[in-house]
Amino acid sequence: MHPALRRGALALLACALLAAPPLRPLLEASMTLQMLMQIPLLVAIGWWLAGALPRRAADAVADWNTGGVTGLVLASMVALLWMLPRALDAAVDIRWVAAAKFVSVPLLIGLPLGLSWPRMGFVVRGVFFMEFVATCFRLGWLYLASPDRLCSNYLLDDQQRLGRLLLVIGAEVLLLLMAKLLFGRFRFDDGAHEAPAPPAGAPHTAPHLPGKPTRRGH
């Protein structure tokens, strides 16, 4: 089987496993598992799937995705939707919302992030990380401080545990970023320093170099 097709099939299988018992009821039994395990796994599947996109399709998308900005906007908007307490509840209770979650989280959050990440320069990645950390802190604080249950399906102590974990995750990512800023090495001239090298023989999709004409010349 073609490697890209195989990856697609494996991603589909992984989503199906997550969407069926026993994994679905297990991961949706608590708010913490749903938000910190199930949804991140679905994002990871979509991200991994980005590598299977045919080069021509990836190039066509890239024309609309300078610096990975469009992908980041799409992923952020869809992620915002799945952060609503109401959406988490509905994804447990209502079948079509559940289906929407298992399709949209990989394809509209993970996939665009996977396609955009190699194209993001220093600044866009910085925006991504700061927004990630800020979201962890905002949600974490909200969940810890709210005296009410925000999800009808979940208990207050579950919500507060999730709040604490989000604060911890936000703080850890922040510390890692600070370590990287203090001790790491950056190449500011190249928006794609962590991009994997394209396979030999494939047309080279050059990173978009700021201030220089693009290879495509338009």
Partner: protein, 205 residues
């Protein structure tokens, strides 16, 4: 060109995202299921179906038997030591505050148990008496069968989550049903005077 296309695509996606968020939150007014449900009930009162109950006297009772009166419903399980105890006391207080309309048959109070396996008529009777039932206008009841329990949870948007200690945590404080049998409001408990006043206003006394 690529920068312009990216800008256009990003703006379009951001706009679509804001529209989707607005749709998912009733125009940024409801971020939780409970809030959304209350807004929905107020905007679109819904006719409740026939729901078969068994009263605390062991008598079959249809929810529709309350048509013609304003009905206040709370949802309980009698083993509850915390929240429902407060609700029980509140219903006894409401009996006093609404004594006049209750006496003239314009208001009734109903506690529905969502734990029918445990809450038999004797348990329901004991629950009512434990909280100082004043003798008139307050009935406790349990769904008569599994279908009735489902009808209760679905029509009132009731969700009881096991709390891991043998009890439940649940939503929906007080449901207000009008004399034509429509669910018109869901209120927070905790302030019986405000609840009595809002009901008096609806009755027009």
């Amino acid at each position: 060109m690529r920068a312009l296309r990216t800008l256009l695509a990003s703006l379009a996606l951001a706009a679509a995202g804001v529209l989707a968020l607005a749709a998912a939150t009733n125009g940024f007014r409801a971020f939780t299921t409970e809030t959304a449900r209350r807004q929905d009930v107020r905007a679109h009162p819904r006719l409740l179906p026939a729901i078969a109950l068994e009263s605390d006297r062991g008598v079959a009772l249809q929810l529709s038997a309350y048509r013609g009166r304003w009905l206040l419903i709370d949802f309980v399980y009698t083993r509850c030591e915390t929240y429902c105890s407060a609700l029980g006391g509140e219903f006894a207080q409401l009996q006093g505050l609404l004594a006049a309309p209750i006496a003239s048959n314009r208001v009734a109070l109903l506690s529905i148990s969502f734990d029918p396996a445990h809450d038999d008529p004797a348990a329901l009777r004991a629950y009512r008496q434990r909280f100082g039932d004043r003798g008139a206008g307050w009935t406790a009841a349990r769904p008569a069968n599994a279908a009735a329990l489902t009808a209760v949870t679905q029509n009132f948007g009731l969700k009881a989550v096991p709390d891991g200690l043998g009890g439940f945590v649940h939503n929906v404080s007080l449901a207000v049903v009008d004399p034509t049998g429509r669910l018109v409001d869901i209120l927070d408990s905790g302030d019986p005077r405000a609840i009595a006043a809002s009901l008096q206003k609806r009755i027009g006394t």
